[in-house]
């Protein structure tokens, strides 16, 4: 069912309303899903039938909420509800309700909420609730296409996920996700679903990587973070997962394989939604998925000094490891 294709055109108020609603819908693809949205989300690729998910504006009456330990811009999200109807509340921004992986209701704190800021909140943990409900394995990380496969960089805030992604983007590799990575399994193979083209970097990284700060858009009005967008065509299909790197600071650059237990614990630690979602029955699924990833995907600790020359060294090493043919994807970034 596409835009304006509703066969209903009778003279009843309900149907007139339905058609009016369709006209204000936006259709996108993200994380392998086709979505229709009441909100314009220009970060995303347009198209698709919108049947997988509906992001709608509505009014919510949340149940009891508690602290989630998830923070953005100094605000801690509150979380509550059930696995099938999960609520996330960001004070002063919006309350979200993710239902059964199909509907994400957005209840704005006020009409004054900056749409750019709102989009950050829609396209992060709120969308994560939906992806989790759909059975995907989430990781707070960045994902980059290198050659025909995807690699993942995870780590604590400040470990250099986005900076590494930006450095690889500069070399023409497509950044598939910055912040939240969704892993699925296709024919037993771990795959990464592309999110959208956007890397958020701090001014030090902007300078260290040699970008002109003035040419990059701020994340939202007043934000110090800058957005890097790539112009090359963005993939919509899942890509096989080649390697996972957990970034840590070190005296020298070193790659160390991680044991299975360490991999599973790190996936638990860097789960990118409220930890309540990996309790009860869901913890068993999370465990099995982590085991499957650990069995099939080489996973490493990548120690490296915090300097831009060291980063360039790491980037060269990754290119030699993952796309020895090199050079063919050196598209421009904007």
């Amino acid at each position: 069912m596409g835009r304006g294709s509703s066969p209903l055109h009778r003279d009843t108020d309900g149907c007139t309303l339905l058609i009016a609603e369709w006209h204000n819908m936006f259709f996108y693809r993200v994380y392998g899903l086709t979505i229709r949205s009441d909100f314009e989300l220009p970060e995303l690729i347009e198209g698709g039938d919108g049947l997988d998910l509906w992001i709608r504006r509505g009014t919510l009456t949340p149940p009891a909420l508690h602290n989630s330990r998830i923070q953005r811009q100094g605000i801690e999200a509150l979380f509550g509800g059930t696995p099938e109807a999960a609520y996330l509340h960001w004070e002063g921004v919006a309350t979200f309700c993710a239902e059964a992986g199909h509907i994400l209701t957005v209840d704005l704190a006020s009409d004054e909420v900056d749409p750019e800021k709102l989009r950050l909140y829609i396209l992060s943990e709120a969308l994560g609730l939906i992806l989790h409900q759909k059975g995907l394995l989430l990781l707070h990380a960045s994902a980059i296409r290198m050659g025909d496969r995807a690699v993942i960089f995870a780590g604590v805030p400040g470990a250099g996920k986005s900076t590494t992604a930006a450095a690889l983007a500069q070399r023409g590799h497509t950044v598939l996700a910055d912040d939240m990575v969704a892993i699925g399994f296709e024919q037993g193979q771990a795959v990464v679903y592309p999110a959208f083209s956007q890397v958020k970097i701090w001014p030090t990284s902007v300078q260290g990587l040699g970008y002109e700060e003035a040419t990059l858009t701020p994340l939202f009005t007043g934000s110090k973070k800058r957005i890097l967008r790539q112009t090359a065509p963005f993939p919509t299909q899942a890509l096989p997962l080649a390697d996972i790197f957990f970034l840590e600071e070190g005296e020298v650059s070193a790659l160390t394989p991680l044991g299975h237990t360490e991999v599973i614990l790190r996936f638990r630690r860097f789960f990118s939604c409220p930890s309540d979602l990996v309790q009860g029955a869901a913890i068993a699924r999370h465990f099995q998925q982590c085991v499957q990833v650990s069995r099939s995907v080489p996973t490493w600790t990548l120690h490296r000094p915090k300097s831009f020359p060291a980063l360039r060294h790491v980037v060269t090493g990754l290119e030699e490891k993952l796309c020895p043919c090199g050079g063919d994807r050196l598209a421009s970034t904007a």
Partner: protein
């Protein structure tokens, strides 16, 4: 939720076999300490032990990773621990367990007795096995 918290939730156990490491998750706020002392009934070869119901585990390259879904705690057993764990999938006497280890690994019977008893006490203390 930093490295320090993770590190503090690890208990390194003295074991004559390759070190056996229990790794507890971030959620392991219900960590139960194992009973100390050697006077428990795990010293008796007639005691029958078996893994508790409801534990999830997976064997990966010789190591066994166990998840206690209720406590939200993860545990890791090395190869020797994995041998013991696999042998306890159905009820088995401590005497038979000891025989399995002596058959598989080169270890003095006395050392085996002591270490097996410690391991069983620890697993029991964490609710991972039952005994009768």
């Amino acid at each position: 939720m930093g490295n320090r918290a993770e590190a503090s939730q690890r208990a390194f156990l003295e074991f004559a076999f390759p070190p056996l490491i229990f790794v507890l998750s971030l959620l392991a706020n219900t960590m139960i300490m194992a009973n100390s002392g050697f006077d428990s009934h795990f010293g008796s070869p007639q005691t029958v032990v078996a893994v508790s119901e409801g534990q999830l585990f997976s064997e990966l390259d010789g190591e066994v990773v166990i998840l206690d879904p209720v406590a939200g705690a993860y545990y890791s057993l090395d190869q020797v621990g994995a041998t013991v764990w696999n042998a306890m999938q159905s009820p088995i006497s401590v005497g038979a367990l000891k025989a399995v280890i002596l058959d598989t690994y080169e270890v003095e019977p006395e050392t085996c007795d002591r270490d097996l008893q410690e391991l069983l006490q620890d697993l029991h203390g964490k609710g991972l096995i039952t005994s009768a």
